[in-house]
Each structure stands twice: as C-alpha cells, then as structure tokens.
C-alpha cells in the first residue's frame, strides 16, 4: 500500500503561520519582519517565536541590521526551506486529490 501523503507532512512547516512565512519568503526572496507581521496579522512576539522555530530547523536565515537608525530584520528562505516548502505543497495537493477521490459518489454500475 502506498504511503499516505499525510505521513510526509513536516510538523515544522505544516502550521499555517509558518507555512505563510515560508510562502512569503519564497516569493519575496527576502522579507522584512514588519512586512511579515502586517501581512500575517501577528504580534511581534508571536511572529518571533515562529521565526525561531524555522531558524532552528535551518529553513530560514535571519539577518539583523540597521537602515539609518531603524533596526531591520530580514528573513530569507534557505535551500532546505525551499525544498521543504515545495514538499509541503506537493503533499497538500496529494491530500486534496485523495480526499476528492474518496468523496466522489459511486456511479450506477458500481
């Protein structure tokens, strides 16, 4: 029997906020803390916790610096992060496909 797609989901990535962070970082290449906070509508503390989880898993890279006198934190997806995002999306698509096949009503001749 083929492995169920749900078994391939990574708990670190398969969490809506962290998946959101990774999706944004993938499209933006580099994204600033403030943009993530506004877009995902999170508090700074909450976002910081999710970023720490992703950084520990080496899925993102965090760079801190200054622009003028303003402190800025930039987030970049690592190569492992790109691969993890790709895998997560593939697994989600497989899950949806599997659910759709299960939900298909039986035809008259079955």
């Amino acid at each position: 029997m083929a492995d169920h797609p749900a078994n391939g989901l990574d708990d670190v990535v398969h969490q809506r906020v962290r998946l959101g962070i990774m999706a944004i970082a993938h499209q933006a290449r580099q994204v600033e803390f403030g943009f993530l906070r506004t877009t995902l509508q999170l508090t700074a503390g909450n976002l910081g916790q999710h970023l720490t989880v992703l950084e520990k898993a080496e899925l993102i890279q965090i760079e801190k610096g200054y622009e003028g006198k303003r402190p800025r934190t930039w987030v970049t997806l690592t190569a492992a992060g790109q691969a993890a995002l790709r895998d997560e999306i593939a697994h989600l698509k497989q899950l949806i496909q599997q659910v759709e096949q299960t939900e298909t009503p039986p035809t008259a001749d079955q």
Binding site: Q15, R16, L19, G20, A28, R29, V31, E32, L92, I96
Partner: protein, 243 residues
C-alpha cells in the same frame, strides 16, 4: 485585493488557498510598474531635441556629397549613441527605484531578470544598428542623390532585425519580461498593445522634407508610455501603495 488574515484552519485546501493568496499579495507589493513606463516616456521625449538639433556625425562614412548637397544613407549615429546611453541609464534608474522600494516596503524585488534582459537588448540594439549600417536590408539606390520614392518590401526576417534595431521595440520586448516577473496580466496586455502600435507605426513611411518629420514616431510611443505610467500609478492596489 483584501487584507484578510491567514485562515484559522489547517485544512489542506485552505492552507493551499492561503499560500496562493499570500503569494499574490507579495507580488502586488513588489510591483512598481508606473516607474519604468515614466522613465521610458521621458527618454523618448528627450530624444526629440536630439533627433532635431544634434548635427549628423558621419562616424560610419555613409554620407555622399556633391556641391551644395549631402546625402546620408543611414540614420544619424548620434541618435543611436543617445538611445544606447539613455537606455543604460534608464535601467540603472529602474533598478535603483526597485531596490529602494524593496527596502521601504520590506519585501524583496525580483527585478534582476528584467534589468539584465533590458540591458542585453539595449546592447543588441546597438550592435544590430551598426551591422545594419553596413549591411542594409533595403536595396540602396544606384544614385544616392535620386529623389524618386522607392518601393520597400521587407520580409519577416527583416521585420525581426529592424525590430531589434528599434529602441522603442526593444523597450516593449523588455516590458514583456517585466510583465512576467511581476506576474502582471494588465502590464502584459498593455505591452502587447504598445508593441502593436509600434508595428503599425513602423510600417508607415513619412515622405516629408520637414526637419520634424520624425515627430510622430517619437510622440506617439511617448504618449502611450505616459498614459500607461499614469494609469498604473492611479489604479495600483492599496497594498502596492502602502509603504
């Protein structure tokens, strides 16, 4: 576009929908379409006094003279020099604009492919124009001083080569890349319309002795670019406007 938060559920379908919505939101925040159009409209308008007042520089030796009369078989090389320099400066300004916007909005920019293709096309335009000076596609009259209008027929290959030598076509071709990097359907439609107008206009030959005969060839694309810049600036989504 809306500013709805990410759905509070972990269903695969909603997670995927959220990923797509966030991707679209980032793309909108990365756009700055009006600026390149404004820059290109400006350099097209600045080309008008260059075409009119810069004296012919016969660097390629294409002019033939007889007493009181000089005929040159190629466009003024000063115009080519202007476009090469202006396009390179334009792409430098566009790159600087997008980088600055990226820092201000806190989201990276995917502009590099556009700038690289734009600069490559500008260099190609210069090379093709110089090549065409020595290998003209159109038959040259035996008597360069003849004033008889010639029948001109250019095949598809000639169209492509002439297009690559045209600064306004080169701007349009690079805009197709911008439409792709910004995933911007409105810009794609606009660029196709711009290129179509350029093709129709390029087919028109102006028989005139006026020193301003070139004016429609510059004013029409400049007006189209200005209108495009204004439209994209006015109708940009709120996420694009918000710093």
């Amino acid at each position: 576009m809306t500013d709805e938060p990410v759905p509070q559920t972990d269903s695969p379908r909603e997670l995927l929908a959220a990923v797509h919505a966030l991707t679209r939101r980032v793309r909108v925040a990365q756009r700055g379409t009006w600026f390149p159009l404004l820059v290109f409209a400006t350099i097209t308008l600045v080309a008008i006094p260059v075409y009119r007042y810069v004296p012919y520089l016969d660097v390629f030796g294409t002019c033939r003279s007889r007493p009181g009369h000089t005929v040159c078989t190629a466009p003024n090389p000063a115009e080519l020099g202007y476009w090469t320099v202006a396009l390179l400066f334009a792409y430098a300004a566009i790159a600087a604009f997008y980088v600055r916007q990226s820092r201000r909005r806190g989201v990276g920019t995917p502009i590099r492919p556009y700038v690289v293709v734009g600069v490559a096309l500008a260099v190609l335009m210069t090379a093709v124009s110089i090549w065409l000076t020595f290998h003209p596609l159109l038959p040259q009259p035996a008597d360069p001083f003849s004033t008889d209008p010639m029948q001109i027929e250019v095949g598809p290959a000639g169209w492509i080569i002439n297009g690559l030598a045209s600064p306004l076509a080169v701007i349009g071709l690079a805009l197709l890349v911008l439409a792709w990097v910004e995933r911007h359907w409105a810009l794609l439609a606009y660029t196709l319309a711009y290129l179509a107008i350029g093709m129709v206009q390029g087919n028109q030959i102006i028989h005139s002795s006026s020193p301003w005969f070139f004016l429609p060839h510059l004013l029409v694309p400049a007006a189209v670019l200005l209108l495009g810049a204004a439209a994209f600036a006015l109708f940009r989504p709120t996420a694009e406007v918000r710093p």
